[in-house]
């Protein structure tokens, strides 16, 4: 589904990704771990199409199509979803209206008509229930005054609504207490299928107890320096990242 070949990316002429190779197949969960500043969030943003990052070399293929020239919204229309580490507050736009606009714009891009209002409401209700989100919450301004946990739950709610092919969860566990973590992980697990894939970016092993990865990759200085199965995550938890760094030397 996703194939990244020798990807180099920089921001303001500072190279951050220096040759990433990664293949994610449908039905798989990949975890990307690594110390602060290793390029984890950059990788997520580059895949999602953030314009500040410049791809200087290599390619990102989604279903064998190079997506480098596509705008963020076009990538979203093709099924890429990024759960933000820091979801943006948008005062004046309610969660419901935001979702309606996002869904209908995506449908428009695919040449489909708007989703009928009753169908939309039903879907919103179902998905809100899945994430244990209060109905009142849906009429509030997007992310404005939300707690850390509410913001992350809202991200996964949006993921549930948009039903992406490839979901990238960027530090979705940061700022979550154990209950919120369980709700969020449970939501993600229910959305998993053999046709979609998830990339979990995290600093800690904790989230991976709930969302169990098929593969774990360690990112260091813009390269994947080690790949393995979920046991690698446990090893990292025990030994810390210094172990990897030393191994590299």
């Amino acid at each position: 589904m996703l194939k990244i070949n020798d990807l180099h990316a920089s921001v303001e002429d500072k190279a951050i990704l220096r040759g990433i190779n990664l293949e994610v197949k449908a039905g798989e969960v990949h975890a990307i771990m690594g110390p602060n500043g290793s390029g984890k969030s950059t990788l997520a943003s580059v895949i999602a199409g953030k314009e500040e990052y410049e791809v200087t070399k290599g390619e990102i293929l989604l279903d064998n199509e190079d997506i480098d020239e596509l705008a963020a919204e076009e990538r979203a229309h093709k099924g890429i979803f990024l759960s933000f580490q820091y979801p943006v507050e948008i005062p004046g736009v309610s969660v419901t209206n935001f979702m309606k606009t996002a869904i209908n714009e995506t449908r428009k891009a695919k040449g489909q008509d708007d989703m009928p209002a009753n169908e939309m409401l039903k879907m919103i209700r179902e998905k809100a229930e899945l994430l244990e989100i209060d109905r009142k919450f849906l009429s509030r301004s997007l992310n404005e005054g939300f707690s850390g946990g509410e913001k992350k739950r809202n991200e996964i709610f949006q993921m549930a609504m948009l039903e992406p092919k490839l979901a990238i969860l960027d530090e979705t566990d940061s700022g979550l207490d154990i209950d919120a973590l369980r709700i969020v992980a449970n939501g993600v697990n229910k959305l998993k299928s053999k046709d979609n894939a998830v990339i979990v970016i995290t600093h800690y092993q904790r989230l991976l107890d709930y969302i169990v990865p098929d593969f774990v990759h360690v990112l260091h200085e813009g390269r994947i320096v080690k790949s393995g199965t979920k046991e690698l995550a446990h090893e990292l938890e025990e030994k810390g990242y210094d172990w990897i760094k030393q191994e590299l030397v």
Partner: protein, 437 residues
Amino acid sequence: MDLKDKLISSFMAFENTVNNETPVHDVRSEAMKSFEDKGFPSKRDEAWKYTSLNTVLKHDYSVFPKQENALEYRDIKKYFIHDIDTYKVVFVDGKYSSHLSQTTHDGIDVCLMSAALTKPKYRLMIENYFNKAATKDSLSSLNTAFSQEGAYIHIPKNKVVEKPIQIIHFSTGNESALLLQPRNLIVVDENSHVQIIERHQSLTDHPVLTNSVTEVFANKRAIVDYYKIQNDKQSASLVDHTFIKQKRESHASVHTFSFGGQLTRNNLNFYQEGERIDSTLKGVTIIGDKQHVDHNTLVHHIEPNCESHQDYKGIFADKSTGVFNGKVVVDKIAQKTNAFQANNNILLSDKASINTKPQLEIFADDVKCSHGCTIGQLDESAMFYMRSRGIPEKEAKALLMFAFSNNVLDSVKIPEIKQRITKIIANKLGVNIGFNL
């Protein structure tokens, strides 16, 4: 001959066409003298520092249209709020259009200024109210000198006017350049409630300059809601003066939506002449090209225990320019005043600019007065967030701008106006999204 000289000589001709026996005659003559002394405002005047009338005044305006021009309703329907029943006072090139209007004398007066100024039965009202709120600045004086036509609205006490009243001025462009000087008088007596919608609309690309004066009197416990829709052609300019005098416990609000026109200057003055008065001044400005919109507001807190709320939002693209000058005066006896003022702006281009200037003169010591102004750009991180959810750039931008304007739109009490404004904004931004916020 420059415009000032032309106006002075036109005034003599004008005097010959109107009845000189009325008390208004003296008011007009005095006003003309005041205009003669002051002349047009220039950038040397503090109140006009950021707005130059030079390019607007260079046209050779006709002061009196030579012919009567008729319009068909179906051609101009789109400028009306037409999905609800309303009273209408409609003018074409400054002349009253009876077939486009729907006036009334049934319990309330919704009719013509020209009738009120000349008919004996209105004499007392004119003596009590005409030119009693307007200031003596040069352009208001010029309007007063030529005051003749406009809307006259009188709501006697204890009346809730169910239908909004639309005051619409069309210009057909049959003159090469036209100066219009409408004069409205609105008196709302005790416990009465009225909603007014005002619009100036040019129908061709010939230059039009409108110098409008509206006096509003909100008597005891009256509620007056006024909506100004400014979405005129690039060739049209407007200098609007609205003076609102409020008596105790009255509520008055003015929403100004400025989306078009070459130069728009809104002078909006509120005078609180009683206790427990509430005044609301709100505006949304969205302009581009080389358009210019200037909001010059004054709220004068004269008595204790009153409130005022000002909230102006501006979005400026291309080489457009904006001005917000908000003055709040709190007299020494006006204790327990709550006065709020906010002016938030977004500049969409490097060449757009806004000059914002809060001016607070507070002489009382037990008051709550706040003001804040911001100038920023569209939030890039919010843009990426929305786009990553599949909302295209243009729509994402529009959504952010709607959100930015939302608390002004929110207080619009007539849903049809809100829908209309939303549609105008969507058109302006080139998007077609059915969101209502």
